[in-house]
């Protein structure tokens, strides 16, 4: 199907959507294509971005038209394995750029997290084909902003909300396991078919493979010099939410093979000894590349993301030793329960995890990235800074480019401090 026809069929606002894609081109050129020493394997990921609202959307539309569900998600807590096991497809939604602000502010307060305002904006302005191709969305109670926004959003798109607990005790795990069971029951009811343990096992293996490949990528970045830039690695993590998992895994595995060769040859994207930074905090949805780009054009390299678009997504694997439905669902719940999101209280796992990333990567500094009005992360940044083994720069920003130079000054001064 021709792209325009595809977008028209999905009910997008063609004119505004065209303008959005046009704005992406020069930004992509500046942030990604202008880099030197990029691995060849990035070619595939470049081609995915070049057709970001095209080929994959067409595939998803086919899945939907063949009667299988396409489910949109906002958060790494949604157990996507279940959706794949039931023959569906799971996709992340557009939320990385401010659109249709006036329309959004008719419904939501001005002082709200830019990510929430963005997904509303994409829906109200009909600009996200992933949103439109979905049969329904799965939300979750990871923050008050989202939780309450879903109550308004459900007038615009069918929405199912999972309750994520906020403590890591036994009672909370029981609640979470029950939430996963409830989610499975909901899907089975909607689809009129039962979840087979065999299919669930296959889906777990499919997603495990993707997480393994991402973990391998992240380990390779710990080399000095790193064989791939933080920008390219961030992009790969972002595309992990969109692409077909099997194709994505095989392309990423091939890229990792290439990166391994680079490491053996001592080849990297910057000279050895370049200051190394771990980025920690809020997720960065496409095309939110601002901070990584600023860091990497100020003489440092980002060697890890302690983030939902990063290590929190890659995290642990689901144990597949079980064969029963009950056992597999429990293994699934256990894996997701380990996510160290700032919504948990207390949340010492996150600080331990960050310290271990710093140690493994040899990073000299941590940049804590928080979206404006994101209470869990802006508040937790204090403890992150206090317990960090290396200096921390706390940044609070949104999607607008207006504070670029102020951020640059802070980032450069931080790097001067580390040197």
């Amino acid at each position: 199907m021709d792209r325009e026809d595809l977008w028209r069929a999905l009910g997008l606002d063609l004119e505004a959507h065209g303008a959005l894609l046009e704005a992406l081109g020069p930004l992509y050129q500046e942030v990604f294509l202008s880099q030197e020493n990029r691995p060849e394997g990035m070619g595939y990921f470049d081609s995915v971005v070049a057709d970001i609202h095209g080929a994959r959307v067409a595939e998803l539309l086919q899945i939907r038209e063949s009667g299988r569900p396409v489910v949109g998600t906002f958060c790494v807590f949604v157990p996507k394995e279940v959706i794949w096991a039931l023959g569906g497809a799971c996709v992340g939604l557009c939320a990385g750029v401010e659109v249709a602000t006036e329309k959004v502010e008719e419904l939501l307060p001005r002082n709200l997290c830019p990510l929430i305002k963005a997904f509303f904006g994409f829906k109200l302005a009909r600009l996200c084909p992933y949103m439109e191709v979905c049969d329904f969305l799965v939300g979750e109670t990871t923050c008050d902003g989202k939780k309450k926004a879903y109550e308004i959003f459900e007038a615009y798109k069918p929405l199912y909300v999972m309750q994520v607990p906020q403590r890591k005790d036994e009672a909370s795990f029981t609640l979470w396991l029950e939430e996963i069971r409830r989610f499975v029951n909901h899907l089975e009811e909607v689809l009129g078919k039962a979840l087979s343990p065999q299919k669930l096992r296959e889906a777990i293996e499919l997603i495990n493979r993707k997480r393994k490949a991402l973990a391998r990528l992240n380990r390779l970045r710990f080399n000095d010099p790193p064989p791939i830039s933080g920008r390219d690695a961030l992009l790969i993590h972002q595309l992990a939410f969109f692409d077909d998992p099997e194709r994505f895994s095989s392309r990423l595995e091939a890229l990792c093979d290439e990166l391994e060769e680079r490491v053996k040859a001592g080849e990297g994207v910057c000279p050895p000894g370049t200051p190394r930074i771990i980025l920690s905090g809020c997720p960065m949805a496409i095309p939110n590349w601002k901070v990584t780009h600023l860091v990497e054009t100020s003489g440092a390299v980002v060697v890890g993301e302690e983030s939902c678009v990063g290590s929190r997504y890659v995290g642990e694997l689901v144990a597949v030793s079980e064969t029963s439905r009950k056992g597999l669902l429990r293994a699934l719940a256990e894996r997701y329960f380990k996510i160290d999101c700032a919504i948990f209280t207390p949340n010492p796992e996150r600080r331990r995890h960050l310290a271990s990333m710093v140690a493994q990567s040899g990073a000299q500094g941590v940049i804590h990235y928080a979206l404006k009005f994101c209470d869990p992360y802006t508040v937790e940044s204090y403890l992150v800074e206090r317990e960090s083994p290396v200096p921390v720069l706390r940044l609070e920003t949104d999607y607008s480019p207006e504070d670029r130079e102020q951020l640059r000054t802070r980032i450069e001064a931080f790097l001067e401090m580390l040197s």
């Binding site: 000279p271 054009t297 003489g299 440092a300 802070r410 790097l415």
Partner: protein
């Protein structure tokens, strides 16, 4: 060796020329909207071996003249350390930004904080408030010093605080008390930044707002120790940039790929710029 330090700030451009470690020229002018032309005019006729730029326009100076660059944070640290070798903390309140820095005893910045994007508590805030009261900055400071007590301004945002001040004028509030309230608002904001970096004495206050005696006095009262102000508090960034050029060797910093060279400011009493009175350290009026 002749080195030029250029601090291209939001409100003023500052230039300091060092020759064999001595300040031979120090000059400051308002930033205009035609910045490239202004910078070219400022440098025309000057001969120098190295040019180091800091401030918001530093990257423009790099593009135009191939200047080496460093951030205002590091530049102020170098400049102030030179004038006050014992310094441990710096508060810099310029036209658009306020910053607090804590240094270790070798003069390295170990922590810094900056205001976020808005101009709350900066020189711009003072300018807007002075305009709302219809007085000069100097008069505003005098009024503030003459009041026994200030009004409590709840808004810190420049635009909101202006509305609040206008509202209070309309209610017949004494302008001296308003001026004092405005100064207190700046002091509170600065204290917040200073606390976040764990500031301790000796503390040096730089930037245009350091010329305001009422702000200095308010800070001293709140901190409980003397605040040091250089003779020319707006010039320490440009001075630091020039000192960096005189003392540092940089390897490919501009390329973006390699790390900035290790900095070890080596200021001592002997290489201090005694030739130029602008640069001599000065204590603020003791309380």
């Amino acid at each position: 060796m002749k080195v030029v330090g250029l601090d291209v700030g939001s409100r003023t451009v500052k230039i300091v020329v060092l020759e064999e470690g001595r300040v031979v020229e120090a000059h400051r002018e308002e930033t205009t909207a035609r910045l490239p032309e202004q910078l070219r005019a400022l440098l025309s006729g000057l001969e120098f071996e190295r040019l180091v730029a800091t401030g918001y326009g530093r990257n423009l100076a790099r593009e135009l003249f191939g200047a080496e660059t460093l951030t205002e944070i590091r530049a102020h640290a170098l400049g102030v350390k030179h004038l006050f070798p014992e310094v441990r903390s710096i508060l810099d309140i310029g036209g658009q930004d306020s910053k607090a820095l804590r240094l270790d005893d070798s003069g390295r910045v170990v922590k810094f904080e900056m205001n976020d994007r808005c101009a709350a508590g900066t020189g711009r805030f003072l300018e807007v408030m002075a305009a709302a009261l219809g007085v000069s900055l100097a008069e505003l400071a005098q009024w503030a010093l003459s009041a026994d007590q200030g009004v409590n301004l709840s808004a810190l945002c420049t635009v909101f605080a202006e509305s609040e001040v206008v509202g209070l004028i309309g209610r017949g509030e004494a302008p001296e008390r308003l001026a004092r309230g405005i100064v207190t608002a700046i002091v509170k904001r600065a204290l917040g930044l200073l606390k976040r970096v764990g500031a301790e004495a000796p503390l040096v206050f730089t930037g245009g707002v350091a010329l305001n005696q009422a702000v200095v006095k308010g800070l001293e009262e709140a901190l409980g120790f003397a605040v040091l102000v250089p003779e020319a508090p707006q010039m320490t960034g440009a001075l630091g940039a020039a000192l960096y050029g005189a003392e540092e060797r940089i390897v490919g910093q501009a390329s973006g790929g390699s790390p900035p060279a290790t900095a070890r400011p080596k200021a001592s009493a002997s290489d201090r710029a005694e030739g130029c009175s602008l640069m001599a350290p000065r204590f603020s009026t003791p309380r």
